[in-house]
């Protein structure tokens, strides 16, 4: 699906390699990026804003987002309802504000799932190589050969839609990216001198992975996670748009767009405005991720590197 595109970034594996060559201090890099790159500053500003909106939604929103005023259904924007009401007479502004909650929640949690599954597997594959690596490679190839949206549709049909199912469905579909990322970085790190040394001193695999490998791949991991959140937010919206995401009466930008499309002839703003909120949120995460990547990888990698295995 379209959203997976952000996640199959060709640039990523080399990023890991580049980063590994100069072990970064991620905090310092972040600060430096923010100071130097306006895009990163704007992006982070937006992320903070969205987080605040999500956190404070009940206090900011003028109405309860699920409260219906059937008598005032489908009204145009007015002083009482700044962005108008939907077919149930619910306040669109309040619904867009509350829509930030599932977006951020599902975006962040699903990426946590992808990391929790993908990174250990990728590290193991990259560290041990051999049959483990080959087996992991097969599974990743199979997952990438299935269109993730169709897969998610099947999962949702199977388990029904709930926040947990959404988090799992989206999270699992992003696992291959993190496997590849962790594997690539581990491959580079395992051959570094100090890691070989540690191994010859008899350090356990687990110790080496945790103490030497993990810190080294943290940088690319954060970049990937940021971009992945952007992808997950879009995917949640896509599933909600197909009617199988966040459950009614709770708003999500995807189901707001879906409901709005049904009324697009009379009230196009019902679909357009939530879409703008959605796009801005995705954009914010992409801007930050993109700037971090530029900063960590100043030499601007090429795609051909990425495809050489």
């Amino acid at each position: 699906m379209s959203d997976a595109a952000a996640l199959r970034e060709p640039e990523l594996e080399p990023v890991a390699e580049a980063a590994a060559e100069t072990p970064p201090s991620i905090g310092a890099a972040l600060l430096r990026t923010l100071r130097r790159d306006p895009a990163a500053a704007i992006g982070s500003g937006f992320i903070v804003l969205f987080a605040l909106v999500a956190l404070l939604a009940p206090w900011i929103a003028p109405y309860d987002p699920t409260a219906q005023h059937i008598i005032r259904a489908s009204e145009p924007p007015s002083a009482a309802f700044w962005l108008g009401t939907d077919e149930f007479g619910r306040d669109l502004l309040s619904r867009i504000i509350h829509g930030a909650r599932p977006a951020l929640l599902i975006g962040v949690l699903s990426v946590c799932v992808s990391i929790a599954i993908g990174v250990p597997i990728g590290m193991l594959a990259g560290y041990h190589l051999g049959w483990v690596d080959r087996a992991v490679g097969w599974v990743v190839d199979i997952m990438l050969a299935l269109p993730s949206l169709l897969l998610a549709l099947m999962v949702v049909a199977l388990l029904g839609a709930s926040t947990l199912v959404l988090v799992l469905a989206i999270g699992i579909s992003h696992v291959p990216i993190f496997v590849r990322l962790a594997r690539g970085s581990t491959l580079v790190v395992r051959n570094l001198e100090y890691v070989s040394q540690a191994r010859s001193f008899g350090a356990s695999d687990l110790h080496i992975l945790r103490r030497h490998v993990l810190p080294n791949i943290l940088g690319p991991l954060i970049i990937m996670a940021t971009l992945s959140i952007a992808g997950a937010i879009r995917e949640e919206a896509s599933l909600s748009f197909l009617g199988l995401g966040v459950q009614p009466p709770h708003p999500s930008w995807g189901n707001l767009i879906r409901d709005g499309v049904a009324n697009i002839l009379d009230a196009p703003h019902l679909a357009i405005l939530p879409g703008i909120a959605l796009t801005l949120a995705v954009l914010a995460f992409n801007m930050v991720g993109d700037s971090l990547r530029d900063m960590l990888d100043p030499r601007d990698l090429t795609a051909s590197d990425a495809k050489k295995r």
């Binding site: 699906m1 379209s2 990438l144 269109p147 549709l153 952007a230 197909l242 679909a271 954009l283 990698l301």
Partner: protein
Amino acid sequence: MWAYAAKRLLSAVVIMWAVATVVFLAMRLVPADPAEVVLGDQASQEALDAFRARSGLDRPLPVQYLEFFSGVLRGDLGRSLITNEPIAEQIWAVFPFTFTLAFASLAVGALIGVPLGVWTAVRRGSWVDYVGRVFALAGFSFPAFYLGIVLLLVFSVWLGWTPIIHSIRGGGWEEHVQKLILPALSLGLIQGAYITRLTRSAVLEALGQDWVRTAYAKGLPDSVVHYKHVLRNVMIPVITAMGLYTGTILGGAVLTETVFNRPGLGKLLVGAIAQRDYTLIQSGLMVFAFIITTVNLLVDLSYALFDPRVKYE
């Protein structure tokens, strides 16, 4: 190289088998089956059983599984459990639509992305670069289905420049092109964002390389260096985009085809899931996996053509 291709082809076959197996099992776990979908709410248990017996759904799973794969090996994708139409025909009927959409959106993406990528790389750090970057970021961030809705609203509903129905088959090529514009734009603009980024990186790398510096040193004019030496490298990101985003476009086509009500593989499969048409889903997703793995293979092989540094053992 041939040995490499053969190995990859073999792995493609294994992937297709695995995909079909996963889908075979998963669909049978999903509640409701074709019998219930076809016969509806007044059907008796007896009628449901009769339907299942007729379409072979009552046999043990291993038997159904073996039968499906022996069919596939004979080149028979089976028949729809709902309408009994041959599945190969259904896929062939919609395939050109998905193919033209994928191709056109890639063309749109390349037409926007390659010039913009070269331009932003050459003018690195200038306002051009900045605008290019903003465009690329915006492109990454626009959900394709939303872009489709906005385009449809503006160009079909408000301006009336493009047709509203995107579903009619037949008609001349003009009609096909007309009905391709908006869907191709909604996927292609996003595609353009990726190609811009990839092209910019490739050009920047090329500009930093020895032979380009040598060319400059020899006193060749900028334009000659840019177009003769650098542009060659541009083929690589475009090809990479083709490979990486075949899956993306085919998958993204699911939503684009839904928004525009355009026939295609994605819409076929979404419909099949809703109707629990097991055989159609299995075969359809196998075809999906086949296309994705084959294109990826072709892309990898083509690197050897365009980039003399790449060799496969």
